[in-house]
Symmetry: C2
Subunit: 482 residues, 2 copies
């Protein structure tokens, strides 16, 4: 048989197993609600269930689907469960999943414009759609001097922004001569850890990351920022980069962009705005105030792979001056030279990112934006915020729980008034039960529970049940002690 | 209707369109052979065919499929055409595509072990399978002090290796204090440009990248490497990192790992081996000599997303001392702390890479290895090498063409004896015809054509036809001049 002789999956088998897998995923979405959210697997459990070597002879795909069910599924922490309230959402949707499938099927490399013009141009256009969708400053559009690009994550976007800032501040000398440990970076004590990591990677040094104090709402104090910049200049450092956050991971705090932006403009510092978790809120006009002052930023990112129904990876990263970015990241060896690149008429997105290769990620974002339309996206973002605001009101009304932070959008930070031990107990008990998954942070040096609401299929009943379970677990702590 | 009211794609529509898209991909694989390989699109063509804004109202998925066909497809350069001979292969397969689909459908975040134990443990196990599959040194297995991880690309793998080397050589001070521009890096004049880019990103500086001269086969001269290291030490630099290549992008040159490895050991330098394009050859015992000396390396990478039927992104990156890597890249904020991580019993792969987030990429590699089995993979790698060796023999036998480099595996570098202009004409004419796609390099300061053979469905007839078209184009040059 021809199809066996060459070992490839035959077109017939691809259709058959493809349909089967599509159906498996549709079924999974239906049953995930009833699976334990946090995997109950013990360290080594999955590893020991897998053979020690690849098979000598190929296997039928049905064997793999069986192992997915029996070995893999018990090791999954279900980010797509409507009872997933940990960390941040990573919500997916039908059109997003199909976009990823098409990208895999086309199998194109989008490193250069010429290696698939549609891969580059669809991305450029869809990122311009996002400028309109979130009502971002026009300078971030490709039709101005800026433009957007899809990164794998906000960590990588922040690193790219930092590199562009490092180069601009050093008159493009660091990339050739190396860093000198004198450039300083400004974040708040609440900024995402990826900025520390970016400073490490970029050879600027974590010691040069200044952690500006926050106010009672966990937002950066602009006055402290200005003071630290002055102090660093006086001490012989070169301040070059500020990262302000729209919705911190820990507590959804909103740094004051206008005040920070004015300081950056006066001091000629690169302002990057990290809205990874919360930027999606700006699809709704009533939440667009979170971006007030963004016109002062040099770069901006948010993650449709968190809260806009596009499966990971899809971070949208925008710069106001694309030349500053590509000048920091471009390299052109002979074997990649080509006429369109040399014409300057097109974008080569490899110069906008860390890796060379890139897949056709714009498809999934395009499919999601078209499937839902602006109206559908607004509907769901509003719905998630409404659910979180209801949860917040229940916490506020309860005499044994308190809010730990303002909760402007879809993350509610709260805690039992009793003790860290009791909050830890609540979290551990619920997570181990598999009924829901919550994560924590520390605010004001107290253990704080985080209720993050944004999974595609989370409805009011899931949030109501979570609140009942949380109260019951808080009660259970007393019984355990007794 | 409930399903319209909430704007989500209904399970019924997901099944229906999912099946339709699977069928579209199966059909695409059948017809891609007859599509122009290099997209004939002009700059701006795709962009101008797309609306300027996302729609207000959601659209039916059938509208997107129609646009894929009418707008996107003409802008695709078909990496999956059996007539694609440019750059390097990026071959895909049915089981790989289905693995990507399942990863998107599960939608898990694998940043920490706890956020999906199976995502981490399957990756660990499958990367151990690869150690066995390629007969790599046992020190790269997770059962020793090393281990493997999937990166998006060899660029990112090389950057991670460089960061680990930078930290080890600076007693883990660079990441905190910043670089000093004194650490030196060794590559050959033929090493991939991503190493220059890594040095720029890492703040070590491109000026500190020493490009060691190559021999007549374009392989690094170990004696020159030793000489340069000594000279740098004498000049007050700190040599820290060597990248040796198994199969350079330009001409498939093989750096002498044994000699380079001995120097690195004597001088205490980190040796990274980049086998991105050619490592897959080691599935066949008869080609494993390309890795002779690899036991002296600190890290190694190759790309199943090039020549092992796994769709991009899937670079396998191995280190001999995983602690050296994670010590260079780890950061642990409160909101990510969890008991399994603190136990030290498990891997958190976020500490093995640049970004924080990661998707479940091990699934596609697992599916491919199981579907083909070792036997199927050997069959195809051998077949590609055979086809290239036949092409090589045709070039050698022709009185107007010459080989430009040894061509040990599946890449043949060759040129018409006449002139750069004639070779340029051959390439441009063929690429513009859409009949096949070739790319170029410069070797010995002459324009050189590259015939890279490795697409999943490339057969003898495609290679024979390519050779006929090349000869005809060479003839056409005279007619054009006449």
């Amino acid at each position: 048989m021809e199809t066996k002789k060459d070992f490839h999956m035959s077109p017939e088998d691809f259709r058959r197993y493809g349909h089967e897998l599509v159906d498996w995923i549709a079924d999974y979405q239906g049953r995930v609600e009833n699976l334990p959210v946090l995997s109950q697997a013990q360290p080594g459990q999955i590893l020991s269930a897998l053979p020690k070597q690849a098979p000598e002879q190929g296997e039928d795909f049905s064997a793999m689907l069986k192992d997915v069910e029996q070995i893999i599924l018990p090791g999954i922490t279900h980010w797509q469960s409507p009872n997933f309230f940990a960390f941040f959402p990573a919500n997916v949707s039908g059109p997003g999943i199909l976009g990823e499938l098409l990208s895999a099927g086309l199998g194109v490399q989008g490193m250069l414009w010429v290696t698939s013009p549609a891969c580059t141009e669809l991305e450029t256009r869809v990122l311009d759609w996002v400028v309109d969708l979130l009502d971002l400053p026009a300078r971030f559009a490709s039709t101005a001097a800026g433009g957007g690009v899809i990164q794998d994550s906000a960590s990588s976007a922040s690193l790219c922004a930092l590199l562009a800032a490092r180069e601009r501040a050093s008159a493009y000398r660091c990339k050739d001569q190396g860093c000198d440990g004198k450039q300083t970076i400004y974040v708040s004590t609440q900024t995402h850890s990826s900025l520390d990591k970016a400073a490490m990677i970029a050879g600027m040094g974590k010691d040069q990351v200044r952690k500006i104090a926050v106010d009672k709402n966990h937002a950066m104090q602009a006055r402290e920022l200005a003071r630290q910049i002055e102090a660093d200049r006086a001490a012989g450092f070169t301040p070059c980069f500020v990262c302000a956050t729209v919705g911190t991971t820990s507590s959804n705090a909103m740094d004051p962009l206008c005040a920070i932006g004015e300081i950056c403009r006066q001091q000629n510092l690169w302002l990057h705005v990290d809205a990874a978790m919360s930027g999606s809120a700006a699809v709704c006009p009533e939440f667009r105030h979170i971006h007030d002052g963004l016109e002062l930023a040099d770069s901006y990112c948010f993650n449709p792979h968190k809260w806009l129904f596009v499966n990971f990876d899809c971070d949208c990263f925008f710069v106001a001056d694309r030349a500053a970015l590509t000048r920091a990241l471009s390299i052109m060896p002979e074997y990649l030279k080509n006429q369109p690149s040399e014409s300057g008429q097109i974008f080569d997105y490899r110069d906008w990112q860390i890796p060379l290769g890139r897949r056709f990620r714009a498809l999934k974002l395009w499919f999601v934006l078209r499937h839902y339309g602006k109206r559908g996206l607004r509907f769901h973002v509003r719905r998630h915020v409404d659910l979180a605001q209801q949860f917040k009101s229940w916490v506020e009304a309860h005499d044994q729980f308190e809010l730990a932070a303002p909760a402007p959008l879809n993350l509610v930070c709260f805690r039992h008034l009793d003790s860290d031990a009791r909050n830890q107990y609540i979290m551990d008990r619920l997570n181990q039960s598999g009924q829901l998954y919550l994560s924590h942070t520390r605010l004001d040096d107290k253990l704080t529970l985080r209720m993050s609401i944004g999974q595609t299929h989370t409805e009011q009943r899931h949030v109501e049940r979570a609140w009942q379970l949380i109260q019951a677990a808080a009660q259970g702590y007393l019984e355990k002690k007794a």
